[in-house]
Symmetry: D2
Subunit: 346 residues, 4 copies
């Protein structure tokens, strides 16, 4: 019998991407979907791509919780605790694509998210930061999952094994990341107005993006001590995809080969992380519309710096795909259920 899944916030970009993936999931059945802006409309009126495929009517949040065994939420921060609580009470699995269950340290959340606090601390203690390749064992059987942000996913996967093995200096990390415009969501803004971002390029929130503490949380776990990074995101004139170019001083006698060996070792057997052959470069075009994270390894022998390039689709591995991967792990399904789609070459 199919697992009843639901999406709260189904008409945002991450929400509708969840629908696309869940519609192809062999074990799941979409039982209910909600939207604040479009309640009562068919989702296929909002997204005509779904016509005759999913013409389900958008309901309210409560109706989703009531109808489902698994609830995904893709909402602005500050709105997920309520849903988590309701899911907790009924025993449903809750997977939050927002920021409310990502930071273990409440002070970080308060500092970076406008002074907000955790209303129910016990609830947060039940939650896990769900980056599957790094924290798989902790995800199994959990009921509240904080699905990682897009940038932190691409960066955490690249750096974790190197910090864990002491191959790079934790104090030297500079991350220059570039994200497609879907990362800014569906809400209208001058930033995402076509003539303003087409044939344009610039960083934004320089060294003060909210994903910074989330990145540092993962890297600190890896290094076994507090890590601070310089993180600068840029807006890239493409629809989808993130490329993070990561710089760190090598420790001891590193080389492209030594670093590559650490990463291939760490991700041997992983379905969704591809450590590319030395001499090739990760490119977002190769992971678009898929759940893969491509990692390429480079070494600047002249300065001793390790350079990592990490490419994901921000909407899939950086959001909806990883959320489904997390559902699969939490429920004991095959980890790639519903995620076996092949990235298009073009």
């Amino acid at each position: 019998m199919a697992i009843k899944v639901g999406v709260v916030g189904a008409t945002g970009y991450a929400g509708v991407e969840l629908l696309r993936i869940l519609l192809g999931h062999p074990a799941a059945e979409i039982a209910a979907i909600s939207s604040v802006s479009y309640t009562g409309k068919a989702v296929s009126e909002v997204y005509p791509s779904l016509q005759q495929i999913c013409d389900k009517t958008l309901v309210d949040e409560q109706a989703v919780v009531d109808a489902c065994d698994v609830v995904f939420a893709s909402l602005p921060h500050g709105l997920s605790e309520n849903i988590a609580e309701k899911c907790d009470q009924k025993g449903a699995l809750f997977i939050d694509l927002g920021a409310d269950f990502r930071l273990y340290n409440e002070a970080d959340y308060t500092e970076w998210y406008g002074g907000l606090t955790y209303r129910d601390t016990a609830l947060h203690q039940k939650a896990v930061y769900a980056l599957p390749e790094l924290f798989r064992e902790q995800i199994k059987g959990k009921k509240i999952l904080g699905n990682p942000g897009c940038y932190p996913t691409s960066i955490g996967l690249a750096l974790f094994p190197l910090l864990q093995s002491g191959a790079v200096d934790p104090d030297s990390i500079v991350i220059d990341a570039k994200s497609g415009v879907t990362g800014a969501g569906r809400g209208l803004s001058l930033t995402a107005h076509y003539p303003e971002c087409n044939e344009a390029f610039s960083p934004y929130k320089v060294a003060m993006h909210r994903h910074t503490p989330e990145i540092e949380q993962t890297l600190s776990i890896a290094a076994g001590r507090a890590v601070r990074v310089t993180f600068v995101p840029h807006l890239l004139p493409v629809n989808r995809g993130i490329v993070s170019t990561i710089y760190a001083a090598g420790c001891g006698k590193q080389s492209a080969e030594s670093v590559h060996k650490i990463l291939t070792g760490a991700y041997a057997g992983e379905k969704f992380v591809r450590v590319l052959p030395l001499g090739t470069v990760a490119n977002l075009k190769n992971v678009k519309y898929s759940n893969y994270c491509d990692l390429s390894v480079h070494f600047d022998g002249r300065t001793g710096r390790v350079i990592l390039v990490s490419a994901i689709d921000n909407m899939v591995k950086g959001a909806a795909g990883q959320a489904v991967q997390n559902m699969n792990i939490a429920l004991g399904l095959p980890e790639d259920s519903g995620l076996q789609f092949v990235p298009p070459a073009i």
Copy 2:
């Protein structure tokens, strides 16, 4: 047991799109793939998007024919007869994504394809022009299928029912079509050089594109008499997709409603043709990466002209997806096997 399928010309854009689709086909197994330019290499070296998904080595054409029950070919015109002959001899199904088996009238082929002729006429008599929604019954059980061109697919689906029912004047048809740059293939040209086609737009081969006789062949069948059209393709600065805007004088008392009714009637029950609700407009973004053809219907009451907008993904419904749909029909499989992927909203 899986059907052994193969692709000749697997490293062109249509070829690699066939791989993407066939890799997800529940009944097919890719037995062999070939490429003239990259024989001996792994296809995933040519297209890193396929790494760890399909690392198959590219062989030669003969090896594909030998190994397979179904052979797809995606080659420049003039190269498919040989393969068709070999498939015919061994009883394999041959699906040609090129132009060699599309035109029933050899004189048209000779006129539009540089003076080439049909070497083996008997072979051509075994072939069918395989536009599934229009000629499904003729495809069943056939062994040589001429898979339609991208423009002719988008245009034939829109106009066929209207010409068949006499709703529009066959002498009045003007087709203004726009195609993404993958339509020009992977071969290098100044036309497809990024700085030359980005932030640019123009028609090409004005009123002399090779798809003209193929379009007219389908429309003539529909009208029951010879139809000539004005067909002007344009190069659109997007990767994928075709939008054909089609103009024709309405016959008798037509309206948006009357035309819409004809199309919804014609395509009732069709999985891959979506006649959109009146008042909405077809957009290539809603069919990208899918096998759908979206049709919208408009009527210019001030001049009496019917306006149809037809949107497909040129690489899927306009090439590889339709080829798989044709394989499914010819072999008696469910028509949407391997084609159930949902178009992404973005």
Copy 3:
């Protein structure tokens, strides 16, 4: 002594393009600029491209009228009559880039612009529809100029000589036009939200765009009788530029050569209209950021249809550049003053 010019609505896309052009005009001095949304701010805060070039403070509409001998307005329809009146009273030249002074027939204005009427009919009788190459003599010395719309400019220039000479059938005209996204203005909308229009394409306002009566007004003058056209605009994923592909049945014995001859004759000596050599195709990339209109001529011998391709920069020849050209004509300056910038090749 410099001519004091001003722009009302200087922070819209057409407004800021006027600034760019006027800043390089040898005879003009920008005396005042206004904006409803940004009054009191420097225009270079709104558009950092202008930093250290034009840091002028935005004032209100009245201050512009008071300070200037020439007033350009780029406003939503319905807001220009007031300004025209004030300019008329003080004897200033008023050039309206909006729609309020384009239609001679008030009934057309009322029908297509939401029921609005002309408040002051006498004012409208002083105005001229200012498409320079077609109505230059009427512009000279006039004080109220209705600067043409972008689509009507590209279409009027292409068809006027052919209708005037009877070379094409006025009842057969189909216009398939494509515009870059700046045409939709700077106001936020889902239509112009980057992920919604990038890698997308579709028509909009099919056969009901407000430029239709303006197009027909010009063509009717040319033909000497009422002309109705089918006009379908499309949104093109580029920043700037319009390509209009125009279809009309040839009258009598037409050919590419005969049509080409009419157009080269009509535009001999014109600085800003380039009739391209036969065998080449107009492309928006060749006119971007310039005041040129490129016209190419094609003939479909199989159906007898004439095909014209007309390319302009919607922001320059389709708006701000043409407005400056009109100012030059009205004031007796060299027509290309301030407009001699060369289109970039890329």
Copy 4:
């Protein structure tokens, strides 16, 4: 009387951009232009944007040298010495947009440019590396100018004053740069094939780009000692523009304000370098089609790193515009002659 200028290699992207700028230069007259691939053709056949503006016939290199007082060359490396020699003999000013006169240390040239050597050392001693804002005095009166590369221009302008004043640690510099596709030139390659680079993004030549020694040469002059940097360029899916994001550890007590002060001081009075107000971010859209370099300053207080963002148009300040600026300086003309065009807002 006009200065007779010529361009060798006029049909490459930098060459044709030179034409665009020189056509608007008040003191220059284009006397001759050459092209190896298109000799005998009109340049406007190759670039229809120039039709009726510059229909000059392309001649050979020698004819350009013979006809001109100033010769610009835009050629692959290894081809400029010959021309420099001829110009030297006749006393003409030679401005090389290629790499042959940029590196003072021949060993660097040999190492990074495939083993090539300087044939005529005396000739190279007459040359100067011509980055105007940094080396203006040395350019005046010189006859052989090595026009800087695009990346080195954007980087040198940002870092020079900070290294000179000791505000940043020379051993800590990481440069993450992104360039539009015109940077790859007009030569066909899969890299610049539209479907391969549209909706794609990746670095290339990671830590081994040929501009590295040129960057280090400038920075070493500034620091007064050898500087080595990590430099990683990326291919950005836009036509024009470079954004370099530069990271360096601050020395002593730095802040955004202290760094900003150094840069505003260094560039006070400079026409083409705009140090943006604190709190704003440089964006390539604001400098497109202009000779400006926009610099924004940021400080990561959490890690003590200075972050600079430098934006130029790679074809103007990064190539043709700077070359004209250099001509103006060398000849004692106003430095902004022919360069006063305003960057379009969109």
